[in-house]
Symmetry: C2
């Protein structure tokens, strides 16, 4: 009966310190979302399999965790279940075996929610959502099968004000977290125009895939990949010219404008100039963005401005990204709802903050003070004081039973409790407590009546 | 391709207002847990099926949501998968078909965590956990397949201080939520002693199941059920005597003591008197508990004090419960870790608060003020002010595009935004804004420089 327990591969327990640090990050982000008028949404972990299938590409579909129907073994279900199982073995989903699955991201559930509720929603609908998602990826360092996503989207508005505000949310959040970042911006129409110059829209995917790797593999290898992908030397040299554009934001956009106006093949659609105009408008209100023409973002559904956040002091790569899309809910029968959204990479943000020691010193503090338990009468008096502190919103503890000093000190130390309050029999007689600051071992004796005030005063505000 | 989307049976989306109200409840509970030195734990949604199976009884096992292994259709897995599937049809679990499942409660994952980490944990370990669980129950009013549990437990301590503090947590939380409650307390050893008087420990389950229903079905039907369950008239009359004990806590415990000391069959174990002594000790520190001798709590693993919370102004039934248990982790190979815990019924608490209109009026407020968008130059000025407000932690919005007054008023109204700030061309010239309180339609004109101070002053603190 007794088995040595373990966790499924790729999943994690979060102990107290980790939960507190994660909460610090998520509360900071949530607070900024709220400052910008975004509203919270939560969707169930389980979605109908039909809602998810076909939305993430063939590879994505395979990584969806499917839930087995209950009651398969019941008499009247057995034959149906057998047929269903053979279908599943053949790569077809069959609702007689599995009709539910775990959420793979937050975007499709959000789209499903908007499609189901768009008549009641006040548009533009600004929602944020912070929930776990599940993917049957092969686990490896930094990649988990259960992890949090943290998204904010505005749907039902084409105004560039949304892009301006989302970029500002990034800057505000990372400023509050004290993580130095660069928020890069580019535009899908600029990339599309580049593809047009290079022989047509069908080259867009090849080009974006290749230039997305510039950071990692360098220009030589990007050039080789472009040739491999069937672009000719003339086209590659246009792309090189594009990638070599540098200078300030204004300089970059000016050079880019010349590149596009010099190429008559861009004229029919004028896409490139539209993209440049959008970026100029956004930059007018937000001068701290960095135009990054090599930024491509993998997802094909982006159609306008795209964002990516990099922590400048680490090599962590992207810790956030997003962009504008045209049609969130078309796949659910509600066309014509455009949107723009951003996403925070919570696990990577955590790693950056851990590496750079950016969490506040008291983030893992549980109680502010531990009252020692030195006997029945003593602990009775201590308990009254502990209850007084709690009534004044000061987290406090009484050690659960009489025990040696050592043991009680160790408990305080291991829980990160900064003060010990000691009431022995002599202190009980004089109605005082020894208050020991465990960080510097200083000590003072206070009358019972002054203890609450002492801790109210020394407590820094913690949310 | 386009399908009308829906949700799996028994699951729910939580829109903005509901998330905010739930957060109000959960934050209140969390804050009190923290005041008492409890620390947060989060475990993954997925556990190994082997961790969960056999822990919830035969009926419980059937209600566990099992996750289908990925890659079943791959060549080298097919024959194994077929065998595994036949095993599952025959009621046996087979890791070649499913080896993971969704968490069914928070207790077993907590036990698994403690068993895996007990060498590193500081005992007593006071943890709280607020996460969803999943059960394949038949959905019905008030019963969902995905719902939150909210638990606090102390493990590694037999001290009654823990019972005293947990009872106090209940009182503090419901006091903060403004829900009038009665926190009832009883003791498993008292029930066990009653069973002994009635012919032996094997009667305990029958007696507890029957008297647990007293509230709902009345004494006549309880008596009939006891007879049905094989108790004789003498035994039933002892139970009736037990159930009729009333008066103050002291009176109840005094009468109960006589009942037990008058029954020599209780003497060998003295269980009843032990239970009474525990209750007296707890009541000495917490006079607001109500001794409720009819309280039984269904779960068989309780061994000491048991608690139940009822909202006194509604017929909602229990909105919380808990108790002491002897052996949390024995099933995972780590014996001898006792504990005591309580649980909050979040969905029912929500319903009670909704029914009695107990949520704060501003709980669903998103932004504090909506700045109207009345053109390019006007909105530019408004945006500067909005950003200033946000920098001062006042949630504010600028309407996303120029639009008719009506539309912008309606947006504010539907999002519960209490103020509108209107900057038209004449206001832009004088660098003022009309500030309209949408709740009473009063209006005033303020210079740009005074707007932030105005909202900082009128803003009540919101976390």
């Amino acid at each position: 009966m007794s088995t040595k327990p373990s966790l499924p591969q790729g999943t994690r327990d979060f102990g107290p310190e980790t939960v507190r640090k994660r909460k610090y990050i998520l509360d900071t982000i949530r607070q900024v979302f709220e400052l910008y008028g975004f509203q919270p949404l939560e969707t169930p972990a389980m979605e109908l399999l039909a809602t998810l299938m076909g939305k993430y590409g063939e590879e994505g579909d395979k990584l969806i965790f499917k839930i087995l129907n209950n009651g398969l073994g019941e008499q009247n279900n057995i034959s149906k279940a057998r047929v269903a199982f053979e279908n599943v073995l053949n790569g077809k989903n069959d609702p007689n075996l599995t009709e539910r699955a775990l959420r793979y991201d937050l975007t499709i559930p959000f789209a499903r929610y908007v499609a189901m509720n768009h008549h009641q929603l006040t548009l533009p609908f600004k929602r944020y959502q912070i929930q776990p998602v599940w993917r049957a990826d092969r686990p490896q360092k930094g990649r988990y099968r259960e992890f949090y996503q943290c998204d904010a989207d505005v749907v039902g508005s084409r105004a560039l004000l949304n892009e301006i505000e989302l970029a500002s949310i990034y800057q505000t959040v990372f400023n509050k977290l004290a993580i130095p970042v660069e928020v890069g911006i580019n535009h899908r129409k600029i990339l599309a125009a580049l593809a047009e110059i290079c022989g047509g829209a069908d080259k867009l995917t090849d080009i974006t895939i290749a230039i997305d790797k510039l950071d990692k593999i360098g220009i030589e290898k990007v050039r080789a990949e472009l040739i491999d992908r069937g672009l000719n030397n003339d086209q590659v040299s246009v792309i090189e010219k594009y990638l070599s554009i540098n200078g300030s934001n204004v300089e970059k956009l000016t050079t880019l404008t010349s590149l596009f106006t010099a190429s008559p093949s861009n004229f029919p659609s004028n896409l490139g100039l539209q993209g440049i105009a959008d970026l100029k408008y956004i930059l007018e209100s937000n001068q701290n963005l960095i135009v990054d023409l090599t930024l491509a973002r993998g997802l094909n559904y982006y159609t306008g401005a795209i964002f990516e956040v990099k922590a400048t002091d680490t090599k962590m790569g992207s810790i956030g990204g997003g962009g504008r899309y045209d049609d969130l809910t078309g796949t659910f029968g509600v066309p014509g709802i455009p949107g723009v959204g951003i996403s925070f990479g919570v696990d990577r943000i955590y790693d950056v903050m851990e590496e750079a020691n950016l969490f506040p010193a008291d983030v893992h503090m549980s109680a502010k003070v531990l009252f020692f338990n030195l006997g029945e009468a003593e602990s009775h008096a201590a308990f009254q004081l502990v209850q007084q502190l709690r009534a004044n919103n000061i987290p406090a503890e009484l050690y659960h039973e009489p025990a040696k000093f050592d043991k009680q000190f160790k408990y305080a130390e291991r829980k990160g409790i900064p003060f010990a309050a000691i009431i022995g029999s002599s202190e009980l007689n004089t109605r005082t407590a020894k208050i020991k600051d465990l960080r510097d071992s200083t000590q003072q004796e206070l009358p019972f009546e002054q203890i609450t005030a002492y801790f109210v005063d020394t407590t820094t505000n913690r949310s």
